[in-house]
C-alpha cells in the first residue's frame, strides 16, 4: 500500500504499462512538451520520447480516429482528451468506428484503445467546459465506461482498461486529481462491472460515482449523525458494464434508493440506474428511487449560480429523507427543475 494522488495513480499506471509493453503509445494535446494540462503525463515525453508520447494538433476527430487505426493494427494507444467536453468533436469516431468496427467487420479486429481525461464541472469553467459526458457514451454498445472515484480505482480500472482489447471511455474528474488515497502495490487491477459497497447501511441505498461518491459519503455521515439513518453507499465504478446485481440486491435490503449524478437530469445516467433498480427491486421498494442531479441548464459562470447548479450533500440528505418519508418532497434546483424562459 502506498499513498498516491488520483493524478499519480493514473500517471504511475501509464508508466508501469509503458515500461511493460512497447505497444502502448500516448496521444493528446499538450501531453508532452507542455507536460499535460493536469500534469498527468508530466515527464513522460522525456522518458519515452516523441514516438510514444505524441503531441497532437487541436484535431480531436483526427487523433481519436488515428488512435483507433493504431489500435486496429495492434498498438495500445491511450488518448488524452484535454477535457471530455472536446470529445464531442470526436463523437463520430468513437461511436461509429471505435465502438462498432469489431462488430461490422465480423470480429476481425480488436480496438484496444483507452480514451481518458477530466470529465465534469471544474470551478467556473462555464457552459462549454463543464459537461459530464457519461450518459452519451454509456448508451453505446461496444464501448466500456469507467468512472473512478478514488486513486485506487483510478489505478485499478486504468490497468484493466489498458490490458483489455476493447475501447474504454475512462472518465476522470478534474476535481479529484489532487485527492490522495491508499493504493495497493504491484500490478493491482480492478474488474469492470463490479460495484463496490463503500459503506454498509440498512435504511437506504445511495448510488454515486466519480466525484459524487465523496459527496454521497458526506451525506451518509450527516444522515447517520442527524437522523440516525444508516445509508448504504454503492459506487458502480463502471457504468458500462453496469453491475445491476449489486445495486438491486442492496435496494432489496434497504427498500429505498437514491441515485446521484452531477450532470443534467433528463436522460442522464441516473435514469438508467434508477430504472434498473426499480425493475429488479420493485416488490421490495417502499419508495420511488430518488434522483439527485445537476440543474437542467448549461453551466453558468457566476460562482453562486454554479453552486446552485451542482448537487451537494444536503441535496442527497433531503432525497434520502424523502425516500424515508421523513419530509415532504420539494423540488430543488439540484433535482433538476425544468428551465423557464
Amino acid at each position: 500500500m502506498a499513498e498516491l494522488s488520483y493524478r499519480d495513480a493514473i500517471r504511475s499506471t501509464l508508466i508501469e504499462e509503458m515500461d511493460r509493453d512497447p505497444s502502448v503509445v500516448l496521444l493528446g494535446e499538450d501531453i508532452g512538451q507542455y507536460q499535460g494540462t493536469f500534469r498527468v503525463t508530466a515527464d513522460l515525453l522525456a522518458r519515452y520520447g516523441p514516438r510514444r508520447v505524441i503531441d497532437t494538433p487541436i484535431s480531436e476527430l483526427g487523433f481519436v480516429g488515428a488512435a483507433i487505426g493504431m489500435a486496429m493494427l495492434g498498438l495500445r494507444p491511450v488518448v488524452e482528451v484535454m477535457t471530455w467536453n472536446f470529445s464531442l468533436l470526436a463523437f463520430d469516431q468513437i461511436v461509429n468506428n471505435a465502438a462498432k468496427v469489431r462488430y461490422f467487420s465480423g470480429g476481425q479486429v480488436d480496438v484496444p484503445l483507452v480514451i481518458r481525461g477530466p470529465n465534469g464541472a471544474g470551478v467556473q469553467l462555464s457552459a462549454q467546459h463543464s459537461q459530464s459526458v457519461e450518459a452519451f457514451y454509456a448508451h453505446v454498445p461496444g464501448l466500456k465506461v469507467a468512472v473512478p472515484a478514488t486513486p485506487a480505482e483510478a489505478k485499478g480500472l486504468l490497468r484493466t482498461a489498458m490490458r483489455g482489447r476493447d475501447p474504454v471511455i475512462f472518465l476522470e474528474h478534474a476535481a479529484l486529481y489532487s485527492q490522495k488515497g491508499e493504493v495497493p502495490d504491484g500490478e493491482f487491477a480492478l474488474p469492470f462491472g463490479q460495484a463496490e459497497i463503500v459503506r454498509r447501511g440498512r435504511d437506504v441505498t445511495i448510488v454515486a460515482f466519480s466525484r459524487m461518491l465523496g459527496v454521497a459519503l458526506e451525506a451518509a455521515d450527516r444522515l447517520a449523525r442527524d437522523d440516525g439513518i444508516e445509508a448504504e453507499v454503492i459506487n458502480p465504478r463502471t457504468l458500462r458494464p453496469l453491475d445491476t446485481r449489486t445495486l438491486v440486491e442492496s435496494a432489496r435490503r434497504t427498500h429505498r434508493a437514491v441515485v446521484v449524478q452531477e450532470q443534467w437530469r433528463p436522460y442522464g445516467a441516473a435514469a438508467e440506474i434508477a430504472a434498473s433498480i426499480t425493475e429488479g427491486a420493485f416488490d421490495l421498494l417502499d419508495a420511488p428511487v430518488e434522483r439527485v442531479t445537476g440543474a437542467d441548464v448549461p453551466m453558468p459562470y457566476a460562482r453562486n449560480l454554479e453552486l446552485l447548479a451542482l448537487p451537494h450533500a444536503e441535496d442527497i440528505v433531503e432525497a434520502a429523507r424523502r425516500a424515508l418519508y421523513r419530509t415532504g418532497p420539494g423540488l430543488r434546483p439540484s433535482d433538476g427543475g425544468t428551465a423557464r424562459a
Binding site: 484535431s59 476493447d166 462491472g193 458494464p241
Partner: protein
C-alpha cells in the same frame, strides 16, 4: 465544368495518357501481367452488374454502391501493393476486396447477408473486411476511415516494418473535417518518416448528386494537399497502365521515405451513386455516354490487343470465365445460411464485458 473537360474528353485523354506508357521501360512486363488485371477488372465489372441485379431481386438489402467505371484505379494500385501492405476504403468496396484476392463467393455472400460472408453477414456491402489480406474495410461515414488509415500508417512504421498503408477516398470526402485533421497529422508525422501513407482520391466527379465544382472551392483536388505538405499529382484514372505505373512509383517512394504522398485519380462512376439513385438528375445521359467511350476495361483491352497480348478468342474466354466466376459466387451466396441468431450478440466486445 470547364476545368473538368480534360477528363470527359476521350480523345485528349487517350493521347495524354499514351506517351506515359510508350516511354515506360517496364512496358512489356507491365502489359504481360496486365492481362491478369484485365481479367480481374472484367470479373469485377460482371460482379457489380450481378449485384445490381441481385439488389433488384431483393437478394441484397440496404445500400449498394458499385464500382463500375473506376476499376482501373483500384486495380492499378492494388496491383502494386505488396502482400503485407494494408489498405482502407469507403463503402464502394466490392472490387477492392476482389482485387485483393477475396473469393467472389464470400464477397457476394456478405452482400446477401450470409454467415459465409467476408464479415459473417454482419457488415454488408458497405463494410467488407478481409484483414487476413490487409484489407481493413469498408466504412460508411464519408471521410471517417481517413484518420484510421493515418493511424494505421503510423502503427506499421512504429512497429519497425516497411509496410505502407493505402487509403482510397472519394472526392466528396475531402470537404470533411476528418480529411483535414488526419492529413495535417500525416504531414507532421511524415516529416519524421513515421507516416507511410498513400492517399488515392478517386475523383469520379460527383459526391452523390453534387459535382466537385459545387462542393469544393478549388476543383484541382491534387492541389489541396499542399496545405499538408504532401506531394500530390493528378492522373488519368481510366488508364490502368498509367495508374499502375504511378502506383508503383508512389508506393515505392512512400515505402522508402515513410512520408505520405497523394494521387488524384480522375475517373467516373457509370452507375448511379447507389442502387436508389435511378434518375440521376445531376448529370445527363450524354455525359455518361461520352465518358463510357473511355471505359477503363475497353481502354486496357485495346492496349493489350495492340500489343498482341489479347485477341477475340482470349477476350471471349475471359468473359466466359468471368461469367462463370460470378455465377458461382451467386450460387455460393444463395446456398449459404444466414448467421445464426446467437451471432446477434457476438463480436460486440472482445473481452467479457
Amino acid at each position: 465544368m470547364v476545368e473538368r473537360t480534360p477528363k470527359t474528353d476521350p480523345v485528349k485523354d487517350a493521347t495524354s495518357s499514351g506517351p506515359a506508357v510508350a516511354t515506360s521501360p517496364r512496358q512489356p512486363a507491365d502489359l504481360a501481367s496486365a492481362v491478369f488485371w484485365y481479367r480481374q477488372m472484367v470479373i469485377a465489372r460482371r460482379f457489380e452488374e450481378e449485384t445490381e441485379r441481385a439488389f433488384r431481386r431483393g437478394k441484397i438489402g440496404g445500400y449498394l454502391h458499385v464500382y463500375s467505371g473506376q476499376e482501373a484505379v483500384g486495380a492499378g494500385f492494388l496491383a502494386e501493393l505488396r502482400e503485407d501492405d494494408i489498405f482502407f476504403t469507403a463503402y464502394r468496396d466490392h472490387a477492392q476486396a476482389l482485387f485483393r484476392g477475396a473469393s467472389p463467393g464470400t464477397v457476394m455472400a456478405e452482400l446477401f447477408g450470409k454467415v459465409t460472408g467476408l464479415a459473417r453477414g454482419k457488415g454488408g456491402s458497405m463494410h467488407l473486411f478481409d484483414v487476413g489480406r490487409g484489407f481493413y474495410g469498408g466504412y460508411g461515414i464519408v471521410g471517417g476511415h481517413i484518420p484510421l488509415a493515418v493511424g494505421a500508417a503510423y502503427a506499421v512504421r512504429y512497429q519497425g516494418t516497411d509496410r505502407v498503408c493505402l487509403c482510397f477516398m472519394g472526392d466528396g470526402a475531402m470537404n470533411g473535417g476528418a480529411f483535414h485533421e488526419a492529413l495535417n497529422m500525416a504531414g507532421l508525422w511524415g516529416a519524421e518518416g513515421l507516416c507511410p501513407l498513400v492517399v488515392v482520391v478517386e475523383n469520379n466527379e460527383y459526391a452523390m448528386g453534387t459535382s466537385v465544382a459545387r462542393s469544393s472551392a478549388v476543383t484541382d483536388l491534387a492541389s489541396r494537399f499542399a496545405q499538408y505538405a504532401i506531394p500530390a499529382e493528378r492522373l488519368d484514372g481510366m488508364d490502368f497502365v498509367a495508374v499502375r505505373q504511378a502506383a508503383a512509383r508512389v508506393i515505392a517512394e512512400v515505402r522508402a521515405s515513410g512520408r505520405p504522398r497523394a494521387v488524384e485519380a480522375v475517373t467516373y462512376r457509370f452507375s448511379g451513386h447507389g442502387a436508389a439513385d435511378v434518375f440521376q438528375p445531376y448529370r445527363t445521359k450524354e455525359e455518361v455516354e461520352r465518358v463510357r467511350l473511355r471505359d477503363p476495361i475497353v481502354l486496357l483491352e485495346r492496349r493489350l490487343r495492340e500489343a498482341g497480348l489479347l485477341d477475340d478468342a482470349k477476350v471471349a474466354t475471359i468473359h466466359e470465365e468471368a461469367e462463370q466466376v460470378v455465377q458461382e459466387a451467386v450460387e455460393f451466396a444463395e446456398r449459404s445460411d444466414p448467421p445464426p441468431p446467437e451471432a446477434l450478440y457476438t463480436d460486440v466486445y472482445a473481452d467479457e464485458p
